[in-house]
Symmetry: C2
Subunit: 426 residues, 2 copies
């Protein structure tokens, strides 16, 4: 094993981080190569910096004017230069500040500094590399984003184990999670907590969130090492009063020494910039020291370096600029209000049309989507019929569920949309 990896592992060996690392995670490190020497030169090369793998002129990146003209407000180095491997330092600080503002109970708790990844998928993929390998169990509700399977199972050869998402009372199935946790062997488990959930659009209530956290704490107390991943892709899109409105990460951050909490989040949905590919990884656990967070960060940076080198610099700088704008929060609020209005409209339409129908709505209260459970034969056939005969696009899942994204249908079309869906389903 590389000596740098050995050093990092030594720093981490008493922590839950080390107990959770995969073989990949154990052998990873951030090399003392070009990038690390360049970073040093950035500080001290006051005369000439001949380390940079860029073409510069007068200390600025050379560039094509046809490109520069398209982004008149940013200086060339914010448009064309490489970003640091862990991301723009100002953006990382600001993202943490905002995280605490959006999750007040995080204040005063220790976390790592959010590290930039190239969108949430990249964040999950880096986590899978560092923590999930053959023999490891990834526990998720049975309603989940399909890419979890491609990443954890196909890519990293871990085993996904599911439990029914909802209980008979149409609430979060905490008992089901408890049963699933009790079946875990080997002392290690990875749990994906994706709220608002894709595809159902469900988020836990205050009460459910408390029960979930309590359950995880009990399991940790029994000696289970748990990587709790809060996949907060749709964070903030909460529409109901009783919904828990902080990330579960805030409740997990200093819960127990056997729990490593990770927040995977990003600008993608929160800032309405799907194609920007700016995500973040933030870690927290009870009694983790700064040097230990640093050691983990070096491993994450190694995984970033070996997968993409670094994330997009322009979109990080654009995002930073927007987040510093005085209008930023008002603009976000306006977008949320539009989605919230659609949500209540959808809820009203479905309450009216679903009784007696073959389409039974699963509980939903947040995010972009709602999902029907279908009493007919095949949602794939239903999807095709809707698409080819009615010109309506929906998503079929497991041939049993139909996902409808009201995030991408205007308010005044919702009535017509759902009427056709219900009619076609009969």
């Amino acid at each position: 094993m590389n000596t740098l990896a050995v050093e990092l592992n030594k720093t981490l060996e008493e922590t839950v981080i080390f107990r959770l690392l995969s073989d990949f995670g154990k052998r990873f490190y951030f090399p003392k190569g070009i990038v690390s020497q360049s970073a040093e030169a950035k500080k001290y090369a006051t005369r000439f910096n001949a380390t940079i793998g860029m073409a510069t002129l007068g200390g600025k990146p050379m560039h094509l004017n046809s490109l520069k003209e398209l982004i008149p407000g940013l200086p060339p180095e914010q448009i064309f230069s490489y970003a640091p491997t862990p991301g723009n330092p100002q953006l990382r600080e600001l993202w943490l500040d905002e995280m605490i503002r959006k999750n007040p109970s995080l204040a005063g708790q220790d976390t790592s500094l959010p590290l930039v990844v190239s969108g949430l998928t990249h964040g999950i993929s880096v986590l899978a590399d560092l923590f999930a390998g053959p023999g490891d169990c990834v526990l998720i509700p049975d309603m989940f984003w399909g890419n979890y399977s491609l990443i954890f199972e196909q890519r990293n050869r871990a085993s996904i184990s599911t439990f029914p998402f909802f209980n008979p009372q149409a609430g979060l199935n905490i008992e089901g999670l408890k049963d699933a946790l009790n079946r875990v062997t080997g002392g290690k488990v990875i749990i994906m907590l994706n709220f608002p959930n894709n595809p159902t659009g469900y988020s836990p209530t205050e009460w459910e969130a408390r029960a979930l956290i309590q359950l995880l704490k009990e399991q940790a107390q029994k000696g289970l090492n748990i990587l709790c991943v809060a996949d907060d892709a749709y964070f903030g899109l909460f529409y109901e009063k009783e919904t828990h409105k902080e990330s579960l990460f805030a409740s997990l951050a200093s819960l127990h020494e056997n729990i490593l909490a990770v927040k995977v989040d990003g600008a993608t949905k929160e800032e309405l910039v799907w194609g920007f590919r700016v995500g973040f990884l933030t870690f927290a656990s009870l009694n983790i020291k700064t040097g230990e967070y640093d050691a983990l960060d070096r491993k994450v940076m190694g995984a970033v370096r070996a997968s993409i080198s670094n994330s997009n610099n322009l979109t990080q700088n654009l995002l930073l600029r927007a987040m510093q704008s005085p209008d930023y929060r008002e603009e976000k609020k306006a977008a949320l209000a539009i989605l919230k209005e659609r949500y209540f409209k959808v809820k009203e339409i479905i309450a009216r049309l679903s009784p007696g129908s073959k389409l039974e709505p699963l509980p939903f209260n947040s995010g972009y989507f709602m999902t029907f459970s279908f009493g007919g034969s095949s949602t794939e056939k239903l999807r095709k019929k809707l698409l080819m005969e009615q010109g309506i696009g929906t998503i079929s899942i497991q041939d049993r569920y139909l996902r409808v994204a009201y995030s991408s249908v205007d308010l005044h079309h919702l009535e017509e949309l759902f009427e056709i869906i219900f009619k076609t389903a009969e």
Copy 2:
């Protein structure tokens, strides 16, 4: 194994592609999930498209005006929307057109359509996933980019085997490559061909390129299956008359049925957009049919989906816009001229200062860099001294070599830069 993977493998089983795939590569596929259903809906959902994981209003992506204002010339969908998994179709076509223009001997040869990845590292990482696993041999000259080691060895557990880059006549060591190839066992090898080379700045002459291609053909004829990766990061930065000025990909594309050629290239250096993270993967082999390229593309798309979902959309669109600008080629020429002028200056300075010095320049004729072999004790110490006492940043490699990036030092500073380097080395 997933049935989609089984189908793809069946399509590929008679080809060199299948013979070269790693276990990861064999089990990968592009899922028929949300992305593929959304793509279908994009075509046929003429009334409402409720598949999209985006928030739209009036058919356009919702967005923050603080962001939109920074890119006044592009419509919102080119700034904020997701890019397709394999990249912007127009950009892919245009990149191929440009590739043929820059490599005239490619004209008339069959290749796959360039597939967008998030920068060259991501391209190499995807290739490593699909083709390199434990037991596989990756053959590279002993002067190579350090990230090859992190990717192939640490990430994918393949074995890197090196041979001396230069022969005693200060030319490309074709004999050394031949010896190394003769030592390969197991009938499969991956060769990284990185020209202009990082760190040396060397590219083969016309004669060397021909000899190299001839050698690879002979090895393929003997039954060796070869993945030839043309890492063209610095493509086009050729400064000498006798240098081979096409990518080796063009000579490898239809060389032999046992050779799969891949071109990893990108806008990063070619278009002076280091932080844009737009790279491309293009495949070619003799007698590969369209359906077989398609099957390989589905596997690449699966690997892209499982690592980053999709690449940055804004920078793809900016790049497309710039490449369509009437000034594009002239702007590129001007940048090349600046680097070329520096190259000849560096060459002249070094010819003057190096005789009798402890710093011996390795052959260089292209790219961003030149590298010294150091006759003293440690280039790491030399680097530190240059940095801390002289404010000059350089890169130390293997404690024996010193890399100097003249790409990032202006012409009128080069004399002073090298004088100090030579003086400090004594």
